[in-house]
Symmetry: C2
Subunit: 203 residues, 2 copies
């Protein structure tokens, strides 16, 4: 498809094609060396063509990272809506979905959290990341309203949950949570501990 004979001179939507190709490359191998020229090669265009749509490589990576955060947020939202009624099961389900997203897309997940901050585009990137954070906030907010979550500063509790799943995901991606050393279900153990800690004492 990439070299269809009647491919028009103007690609039409090269921007989207570049993004799709890059996402494919990220999906392939964890340790893939990401080069713009390789992206262009796979997209079937010349090596400088992407520069018409992205000012530089960092801009493309930032765009990919933002897409990743958007997808992660959608994944979590979907998992939340399918979760059972129990708040505890809901948290467990969403956490599992989070870690699964990371282990299913290791290169993308790594990229999402390795994009340079402090740049102009970094602000928007952080916005996307904080949207993920808000999904967790909402659950805890409901839990507090229902009385099954302690009435503590909610941001700290959400940060705890985010930090936990983020850390577990990164360790899993790096192959540091090998089952022999760590037991069969470390995430479950971690979540149990955390949820019980978050839970109100009466429960």
């Amino acid at each position: 498809m990439q070299d269809a004979p009647n491919r028009p001179y103007h690609h039409g939507d090269l921007r989207r094609a570049v993004i799709e190709t890059a996402l494919d490359m990220l999906r392939e191998e964890k340790g893939w060396q990401f080069t713009l020229r390789e992206v262009a090669r796979r997209a079937g265009v010349s090596h400088a063509a992407p520069y018409k749509h992205f000012p530089d490589k960092a801009a493309l990576l930032a765009e990919l990272a933002m897409i990743g955060f958007d997808r992660l947020r959608d994944t979590l939202s979907a998992a939340k809506s399918e979760a059972p009624n129990s708040l505890r099961d809901e948290i467990t389900t969403i956490a599992r979905a989070y870690v699964t997203f990371g282990t299913d897309n290791p290169a993308l997940y790594r990229l999402m959290y390795s994009a340079e901050d402090g740049q102009a585009v970094g602000i928007h990137l952080n916005e996307r990341a904080l949207a993920v954070f808000d999904v967790l906030l909402e659950i805890l907010r409901r839990g507090q309203a229902a009385g099954s979550i302690r009435k503590r500063p909610i941001e700290g509790q959400a940060a705890a949950g985010w930090g936990l799943v983020h850390g577990m995901t990164m360790l899993a991606i790096d192959g540091l949570l090998v089952p022999e050393k760590v037991g069969s279900a470390p995430l479950d153990a971690a979540l149990s501990a955390l949820v019980e800690g978050l839970g109100s004492p009466a429960t």
Copy 2:
């Protein structure tokens, strides 16, 4: 000092000098672009001299990462020995030391967890990382023996703690735990929740 006129032809201990220079560079700026040539430049030797001591760039990075893990382990051990008697305070102290190590050495910490795995040197690297893991294991083991920690598979609990501090550290390094959004002490909240979850119900 790097261009003393009577600098001998042979550096004397270039291997150590390269490592020190590289660590200095990692300490300087978080987003620093790490190049072997720049290391050699700063060390005052030719651009290819480091190859007499490291087979390639990855080997140097792996060495730096191992040093980082060793230092982290020492930091945690030191914090542990200075901690108060209470197991809970001990966990809090060591966790704080962990996160502080990460935020104090952001580039080094990032490097430690971004070195490629599956390589030949990756095995040794993982050994160092698991040594850090063992510090956490030991605390929990004592806690279980004392009865203040639930008698659950201990590796899962340690993985929970490791994942938590690792995740909090990474988020902090990436500037995603901005105080306005997250409260003043998210780590404390997280640890409270986790410790209470780990703690035995009678406590």
